[in-house]
């Protein structure tokens, strides 16, 4: 290019200000690229959100922990300087069972093992998760190879991955191939005997997925969850002070510090394109913005089906995009409590409640909870992951009466498509998202009842309650199907084919169109991984073209 560039000239325009989009923006900005972020809502963060539950009471909107965020991102972007303050309680997981017993998983695996009947098996499992997690972290940091026309870069990346693979050792490398497609129930059973412990460990293999512990590929989900962080068998439990929204604020601040412009309440309705090349975006008000790279932080289905011109997309890719699996099965229940609830298994010991409280009492119990979704019902005995962030971060309730606490509950399983309760068995015609109308609070009651079973009296302590069904998640967070991971994290939507084979290298569908959100490799969760990888690829293309 030559001559003066127009005032409105952008190197990159990014659709959405979720945490991945902000990560991409910050890296592009740091590289001197003129970058504009357009957010539909009035605040940044997407699923990394802090919501006002009641006056003076704030709660995590969707995600509630941030411990998977890549350390390199925290360092590169100087997030601590931009106000991010993390809290890592010593207890990672407290897993009470309705029978009154409980397991506690600590940051220190040895300490955990000492308190378990099956400490040896736990340590073995911890070691395995860490060993295989390292390889998956290497995998997660690399851009999926171009299998159609592999170039020199792909060969180098392949060599690097190959080294990482060999680094697992002979047995490790055989193991990783055997383990990835496994069911998490089988993987945990190879190490531990106790069903309650199996349940607590297996939970991360199914979290946010339309799968049960017996589903193939759930072992990979667990290993991905532990990749690149200090989770190990217990998994990470790290809070952002001020709620997950504070992470988004820090990311936004880091991005703005390197010149990124962020506009909120600026919904993008269309991606403009010409001759197979993305040229810009159109805002709801009709404003058109052009850029050299169009980057979508929205999920791939929404990006391709709602924003891209269907003619440009073509019927074949349109068909494939329509079949990206986004079966949301998670509901979020946020509760304000008049005082701290008492758990049967931890009377008077609030320190045990500072981590994640996981109610997944055994493999069969989890599988039964999953069964319900297959027939369009929510689980009567859902699996829960609850946190009480106000225990470690009183700022969340500083405007409320003393003793108030806030509890964030991920409840699984609640299907996006609900069967009509009056419909005949197998009658699928009556199913649909509309089925949730008028039943939201019933689901809330089910979740509170499940909490009541492990913390009797908790129902009476509830002062405010917010129930987000998958349909609510879709509407409020723009998640297709209400899927928090943007697309199911299954073996069929993994690595070289996440979200679609031939479109997994952050470049998607059109020339100059990029995907930087959880729908891209290495997938969902608050990791920043897709955003960081996408920025690397976008910068490569931008410098090649200028």
């Amino acid at each position: 290019m030559s001559g003066p560039r127009p005032e409105t000239y952008w190197d990159a325009v990014i659709i959405g200000a979720g945490h991945n989009a902000l990560v991409t923006a910050a890296y592009l900005g740091a590289a001197g690229r003129r970058t504009l972020v357009l957010e539909r809502r009035e605040r940044v963060g997407g699923a990394a959100d802090t919501v006002q539950l009641a006056r003076g009471i704030r709660a995590p909107g969707l995600a509630h922990t941030v411990g998977r965020l890549r350390p390199s991102i925290q360092k590169d972007l100087g997030l601590a300087r931009h106000g991010l303050s993390l809290v890592s309680p010593d207890v990672r997981v407290f897993a009470p069972s309705p029978g009154g017993g409980a397991l506690t998983l600590w940051a220190d695996a040895k300490k955990t093992a000492a308190g378990l009947g099956d400490g040896h098996g736990y340590l073995q499992f911890d070691k395995r998760v860490r060993q295989l997690g390292r390889f998956l972290d290497d995998l997660g940091r690399s851009t999926p190879p171009d299998i159609k026309a592999p170039g020199f870069g792909d060969a180098m990346a392949g060599l690097k991955l190959g080294r990482s693979f060999k680094g697992l050792g002979r047995d490790g490398s055989r193991t990783v191939l055997r383990v990835l497609p496994m069911a998490i129930a089988d993987l945990v059973a190879e190490s531990v005997e106790d069903d309650a412990l199996r349940g607590a460990l297996a939970w991360r293999g199914v979290r946010f997925g339309n799968v049960g512990p017996w589903s193939a590929g759930t072992a990979a989900m667990l290993l991905l969850d532990g990749a690149g962080n200090d989770g190990g068998a217990a998994g990470e439990t790290v809070f952002a002070r001020g709620g997950p929204g504070a992470l988004a604020v820090a990311l936004a601040s880091a991005a703005q510090a390197v010149g990124v412009e962020i506009r909120t309440s600026a919904p993008v309705v269309h991606i403009t394109s010409r001759d197979g090349r993305a040229t810009g975006v159109v805002l709801e008000g009709g404003e058109e913005i052009q850029a050299r790279a169009i980057v979508s932080g929205a999920d791939p289905k929404r990006t391709l089906l709602d924003l891209v011109d269907p003619v440009e997309l073509g019927p074949s890719l349109g068909w494939r995009a329509g079949n990206i699996r986004t079966p949301g099965v998670v509901a979020k229940v946020n509760i304000a409590l008049k005082k701290l609830p008492v758990f049967k298994a931890a009377p008077g010991d609030e320190s045990l409640l500072r981590g994640r409280i996981v109610v997944a009492p055994g493999i069969d119990a989890m599988e039964r909870a999953f069964d319900a979704t297959k027939y369009g019902r929510w689980s009567e005995q859902p699996i829960l992951e609850a946190t009480i962030p106000s225990l470690t971060d009183p700022s969340l309730v500083e405007g409320a009466k003393a003793g108030t606490h806030v509890m964030s509950v991920i409840a699984q399983y609640a299907p996006y498509d609900l069967a009509d309760p009056g419909g005949a068995a197998g009658d699928t015609a009556l199913r649909g998202p509309g089925g949730w109308d008028g039943r939201r609070e019933d689901l809330g009651d089910t979740v509170v009842a499940a909490l009541e079973a492990v913390a009797p009296g908790i129902a009476k302590l509830v002062s405010h309650r917010q129930v987000l069904t998958p349909v609510d998640l879709e509407q409020q967070y723009s998640l297709s199907g209400g899927h928090p991971l943007h697309a199911e994290q299954g073996l069929d939507q993994f690595f070289v084919w996440r979200p679609l084979l031939g479109h997994a290298r952050y470049r998607i569908a059109l020339e100059r169109l990029y995907l930087c959100g959880s729908g891209a490799h290495p997938g969902g969760g608050i990791t920043g991984g897709p955003g960081q990888n996408a920025a690397r690829e976008i910068l490569k293309d931008l410098s090649r073209r200028s």
């Binding site: 159609k148 490398s173 497609p181 590929g217 494939r320 197998g426 073996l491």
Partner: protein, 548 residues
């Protein structure tokens, strides 16, 4: 002085017999040792009731490798495969569509059925009754799957590489596969990846909306596995249907004349013609070893046989945990063997019938009875049947694949009478302890199967002369298949290719020199394919040539 052979094959199932035929053909002095009085393993024909002969276990053939048929000249040894045409799926009363009309304008049956046949035009007409969209999808789906099957078929003849090994040579056949993968269109590539990773239901749901169509098609994805139609990893088996070849004809499948024992007998005859010795009622008690290598076997009678190579066509658990002295293989390998999952999930009910049953949806003795009759009226039914099994119960309303072989091969029963073969899923090997075990549940299971079929053919109970129920425990007892798994081990993703049966030991060799595996526990898995037995024999021959 023990008798000396070049090769001993343990087990006279179809794979053992195939191995023996190839070894003998290469001039090796070979003996097959079969425990039972009858050859064939799970591919046997037996006269369970006077005058009624049954393919007791395995009952159809679609994957027998054409190169085996050719190289062993099986038709000359009596192999004759009769085609099965179509799949008839009765659905619940009132859930079907308007019935088609005959030449006189009268409705054919009640319309509560879905009936696909090999004749494409007829199937399309039938599908149009259900969904116009599905007709379009079907036209596209079939050819696509044939392309997929063509692409993947070579893998059935590959010796899997060890991904952890530094020797690049075994990777060469894979390079060829990668090249042909690159030649596929992007959409074909994507569909192939989906086949390898998705659930049968999710895969089919991309094309079709007709529920009984999806239920019936996805059923082939769960045969012999402890998985449901919505379980990831089940789509791949859909391809098997398209890989099946009889005399080169894609997709056709059928039943061997004289039952599946007919195949075993043909292979046995070919093996004998090549000079192999076949001994029945010769159960092997253990494999003899010395200095880390297999030296022969000892029969239960005490008789000892020596050989330069011992091939076990038994499953990996039987071979290493039952036939070897404890401590012969190292702990790590033994742990891997113990880890290998069997989890038998299917049963079989064989019935002798006085007359043919009448299906409410399409009464009479029409052509619809000559193919497979699939009791799979709804996807949710399939999934609920699986749910029962997950918690240790046999399915109250199981999926059943019914064949009436006497309609294509009347020699199996006395004139005018029929046999009916019912493959049933799910019947978990490990029942919930509160049920008291399979010996007390066998007839209850048989009753559930009859009751389920009677939902669609109410007069069936009155036509049953005899009933023979094979639970997974019975299958294990009779054939020796661990936990009654018909494929000698689950065909789940982590137990395929280079992980089958043990990661690093997928090349038919074992840690004990001169002991080889040649059964379905190895790549490419189960079914009456014979591929395992053939590749194993060729690997043995290759290693012998190297030594010589």
């Amino acid at each position: 002085m023990p008798q000396r052979y070049d090769a001993i094959v343990i087990g006279g199932g179809h794979n053992g017999l195939v191995s023996a035929a190839y070894l003998a053909r290469a001039g090796l002095k070979t003996v097959v040792l079969e425990r039972r009085h009858v050859l064939g393993g799970a591919a046997v024909t037996e006269e369970i009731f006077p005058g009624f002969r049954f393919s007791v276990f395995s009952y159809v053939v679609s994957l027998l490798r054409p190169e085996i048929i050719r190289e062993l000249d099986l038709p000359r040894h009596g192999l004759d495969i009769l085609p099965l045409d179509g799949t008839f799926t009765p659905v619940y009363q009132g859930t079907g569509r308007t019935p088609p009309k005959d030449g006189n304008g009268n409705p054919i049956g009640t319309g509560d059925y879905l009936w696909r046949v090999n004749d494409h035009g007829r199937t399309v007409r039938e599908l149009r009754r259900w969904s116009k969209l599905d007709v379009e999808a079907y036209e596209e789906y079939g050819p696509l799957m044939v392309d997929m099957a063509r692409f993947i078929k070579p893998i059935l003849a590959i010796v899997p590489p060890d991904p952890a090994s530094i020797d690049p040579r075994p990777l060469l056949p894979l390079a060829g596969l990668l090249r042909s993968f690159q030649k596929l269109t992007e959409r074909q590539q994507a569909v192939f990846v989906q086949l390898m990773t998705m659930s049968a239901y999710d895969f089919l749901d991309q094309w079709f909306e007709t529920d009984p169509l999806k239920a019936t098609m996805s059923a082939s994805g769960i045969i012999g596995t402890f998985q449901g139609v919505r379980s990831p990893g089940t789509a791949y088996v859909l391809l098997h249907h398209y890989m099946g070849e009889i005399d080169g004809a894609f997709r056709a499948w059928g039943i061997p004349k004289g039952g599946t024992g007919g195949i075993s007998n043909a292979i046995a005859s070919a093996a004998r013609a090549n000079g192999a010795e076949i001994r029945t009622e010769a159960p092997v008690a253990r494999i003899s070893t010395g200095r880390g290598r297999a030296t022969g076997v000892v029969l239960e009678s005490g008789e000892e046989l020596e050989a330069s190579a011992v091939l076990s066509s038994l499953d990996v658990r039987r071979t290493f945990l039952d036939l070897l002295e404890p401590g012969t293989v190292d702990d790590e390998f033994e742990a891997e063997v113990r880890r290998f999952k069997f989890r038998g999930s299917s049963g079989k009910v064989n019935m002798a019938l006085d007359a043919l049953p009448n299906f409410t949806a399409l009464p009479g003795e029409g052509e619809h009875l000559r193919g497979a009759i699939s009791i799979s009226p709804a996807v949710d039914d399939m999934e609920r049947a699986y749910d029962d099994a997950k918690y240790g119960r046999f399915s109250e309303r199981p999926y059943i694949d019914i064949i009436i072989p006497t309609l294509v091969d009347p020699s199996m029963a006395p004139p005018g009478k029929h046999i009916m073969s019912c493959f049933v899923q799910y019947a978990p090997y490990n029942l919930d302890p509160s049920l008291g075990g399979w010996d007390s549940q066998r007839e209850a299971f048989g009753d559930a199967v009859v009751k389920r079929i009677a939902e669609f053919a109410p007069d069936l109970p009155s036509k049953i002369l005899h009933r023979n129920v094979q639970t997974p425990l019975d299958i294990e007892r009779t054939t020796g298949l661990s936990e009654g798994n018909i494929f000698q081990g689950e065909l789940s993703l982590e137990q395929l290719f280079f992980s089958r049966p043990v990661p690093g030991w997928a090349r038919f060799k074992t840690p004990i020199r001169d002991l080889w595996l040649s059964g379905s526990s190895t790549h490419p898995g189960g079914g009456i394919m014979g591929a395992n037995g053939r590749i194993a024999a060729l690997e043995v021959l290759r290693s012998m040539r190297k030594k010589a």
